[in-house]
Amino acid sequence: MSFFSTPVRPNAVRAAQDSRSGRQRFFQGATPWLFLIVPLIFLCLFTLLPVANMIWYSFTEWNGLSKDKEYVGLGNYIEFFTRPELFRVFLVSLYYFVASFVQMGLALYFATILSFNTRFKNLFKGILFFPYLINGVAIGFTFLYFFRPGGTLDASLAALGLEQFQQQWLGNPDLINFSLSGTSVWRYMGLNFVLFLGAIQSVNPSLYEASSLDGAGKWQQFRYIILPSIRPIVGLSMILAISGSLAVFEIPYIMTGGANGSMTFVIQTINMAFKFNKVGLASAMAVILLLIVLIITWIQRRLVPDEKVNLT
């Protein structure tokens, strides 16, 4: 709380300050809060209040428009848990979950390589991060053209003489989720990459020097220096990966609208609310998704506790 008072001062000044009124001290304590008041209002108005509203809707039966909402207690939750077909969409999340490990592996690989002295280092950093900067809708459309029959992917295969691998990347229900989760990897790897790279660059360079004097190779440096130092970031990425794969929305929604077996939980929720006008049930589903993410995060923190890392 003493942000604005310099800790070391001549005695005389300090004495004078102590004798000042309590009012002064109150303002000093309140200063941070005054600075925080605007963000806090925004947080309440745009995050907490809508969530509270949504929780209230989840106990009602409401079509999204009518003036009257009927209170149904836990009815929506009971309906959800007694309809197994609403759970089935979580199977689709598994594709994205597995893909997110591929994504983290690739990101870690590139981050490590580019943290050493590599030719055209900055160019590659730019290329790898670039997809994350593109608007998700644009990515959806780009990849629609990429995957369509005779599109970029098929054309590239033909150019390489691999015509026998051409197929309906989105039309084939066994393949569509691989195609879509691949798109997702392409898009989000850049973010993981930058997070990892930042963490790796904060490792004290003298550690590398010391280890190479001891005869450590690049792999050993990665295994015993880099990986332990960036563990908190890897942990964070894991949580993002899990919650992200449960809440996949943008890419499948834009590209297929959830058709052909690519329905995810969030698309299903949106459909429930806006196609079938069951806002109450949809809110309950959203609350359930929130709880699932919280529980998984909690379990994950239990299994991999947050440790202070200090290698030096």
């Binding site: 428009l65 629609l144 459909n271």
Partner: protein, 447 residues
């Protein structure tokens, strides 16, 4: 800790937003059940109330707002010098306006969103007059946008339903006459597939909404104006001989024979217009509103033809005509008289319907050129019978409870998927499943 919280908030609030943002302060609405008859007197007085003030008109025609609508504005303001008209063109009209309707600020004149239940009309819209009275002058009054004997909207234009097709492709394939049965239609598609390079029937699966256009054919297929109301009386809409069975079988059979696009999941609506116009597509099921757009995209506008749904009853084709969006007045509007004047002017004098190739909302309006093919084929028009009083939203309630979504593409996408072998279901499996969902929902809604 902060990072983690941020991550979770990010993952979940976006969803909370979409769900929660659409409510606002709707439940403390004052006088939520304004008795309709009382306010009807206000509207008949509208001639006396001063036609003045500023009105905001919401429209979905982002493409016309600066051109055609600007002309409308000057013509209208010349007639009513005290009124100032402003337009607000909205790209995602349906979604955005339905959300905005939880506030008071949704324009003075607006197109009534399709998602509003009939029973909610009195809460949001000013009644325009009794159904009996208005239906003397206008089409679609009795069948749409009314509740409890009051009409809440006048259609901006009207559509017939059928299939747009490329005459040249069909002629090149050797087809000489409009198919009169679904079997003949399938045979014709096969001929197109065998004799030309065109995709015989394009579903526009990926965009989704074009698949819902088939739904508009119900009633016309079996020449039964009461077909939609009868959905509420049956446990099995997908049984042989019924509209849904015939329509959805037609889609299934065409897809199963491989006479639709090669990979339906990657279709593109804008592209499909050009492709139909240039002979890469044989036919698409769309309302008559699409004819003008297809002609614009075609090499030669004369190539574009319009055929009725291939099912004759007693040797005659039938096509359901229905209103497009309907202009309604915001119940919170401050210049209701001016808003009313705009609606009447739009229907009577603007010529919008004719310009857009649609059926005039006026009973005495002209027949559009776009439907000449229908005249030649001797198509009889059907207007659906309005639902009985008190059951205005019954069919959509059942549909919502069943989560089938007659007006959403999902279940027809499922049919296409099954037909092309991407789902492990037969046509009968799907129809049985739809029937059982319908029966169950009907039991729960009707109690």
């Amino acid at each position: 800790m902060k990072m983690r919280t941020a991550a979770m908030v990010a993952a979940t609030t976006s969803l909370a937003f979409t769900l929660a943002a659409c409510s606002g302060s709707s439940d403390n609405g004052d006088g939520s059940n304004t008795p309709a008859p009382e306010s009807s007197s206000t509207t008949s007085d509208s001639a006396m109330a001063e036609v003045a003030g500023e009105i905001t008109v919401l429209t979905n025609r982002t493409d016309l707002v600066d051109t055609v609508f600007a002309d409308y504005k000057s013509t209208f303001e010349a007639k009513y010098p005290d009124v100032e008209v402003k337009f607000e063109a909205i790209t995602d009209y349906e979604g955005e306006v339905a959300t905005r309707m939880s506030t008071d600020d949704y324009g003075d004149v607006l197109l009534i969103p399709n998602s509003v239940n009939a029973s909610d009309y009195p809460d949001f819209f000013e009644p325009l007059g009794s159904v009996d009275e208005l239906s003397q002058t206008y089409r679609f009054i009795g069948s749409e946008a009314n509740f409890d004997g009051q009409s809440y909207g006048i259609a901006i234009t009207g559509n017939a339903n059928g299939l747009v097709y490329n005459k040249k492709v069909w002629a090149d394939a050797g087809v000489t006459a409009d198919p009169t049965t679904p079997e003949e239609f399938q045979k014709d598609l096969q001929m197109i597939s065998d004799n030309t390079d065109a995709t015989p029937l394009y579903t526009n699966y990926a965009d989704g909404w074009p698949l819902t256009q088939w739904e508009s054919d119900r009633g016309g297929v079996t020449a039964n104006a009461n077909a939609v109301n009868e959905l509420a009386d049956t446990d099995a809409p997908w049984s042989e001989g019924m509209d849904h069975y015939i329509i959805d079988s037609l889609i299934f059979d065409a897809a199963a024979a491989g006479n639709i696009e090669e990979d339906p999941t990657t279709t593109n609506w804008e592209q499909s217009k050009t492709d139909l116009g240039t002979g890469k597509i044989g036919a698409m099921a769309l309302g008559s509103w699409a004819i003008v757009q297809m002609q614009e995209a075609a090499d030669d506008a004369a190539d574009i033809g319009y055929m009725p749904f291939p099912n004759q009853v007693d040797g005659t084709f039938h096509s359901v005509i229905s209103g497009d969006y309907k202009n309604g007045i915001n119940v919170h509007s401050e210049n209701k008289a001016a808003a009313r004047a705009w609606i009447d002017w739009f229907a009577d004098e603007s010529g919008y319907a004719t310009d857009q190739g649609g059926i005039s909302p006026r009973l005495d309006g002209p027949t559009p050129d776009t439907l000449k093919d229908f005249d030649a084929a001797g198509v009889e028009y059907i207007e659906l019978t309005p639902p009985p009083a008190g059951q205005e939203s019954l069919v959509s309630d059942i549909d919502n409870a069943a989560e089938i979504g007659l007006w959403s593409p999902d279940y027809r996408q499922r049919i296409v998927d099954a037909a092309r072998g991407a789902r492990d279901e037969t046509k009968q499996d799907i129809f049985d499943d739809l029937n059982s969902k319908w029966a169950e929902a009907r039991a729960s809604v009707e109690g």
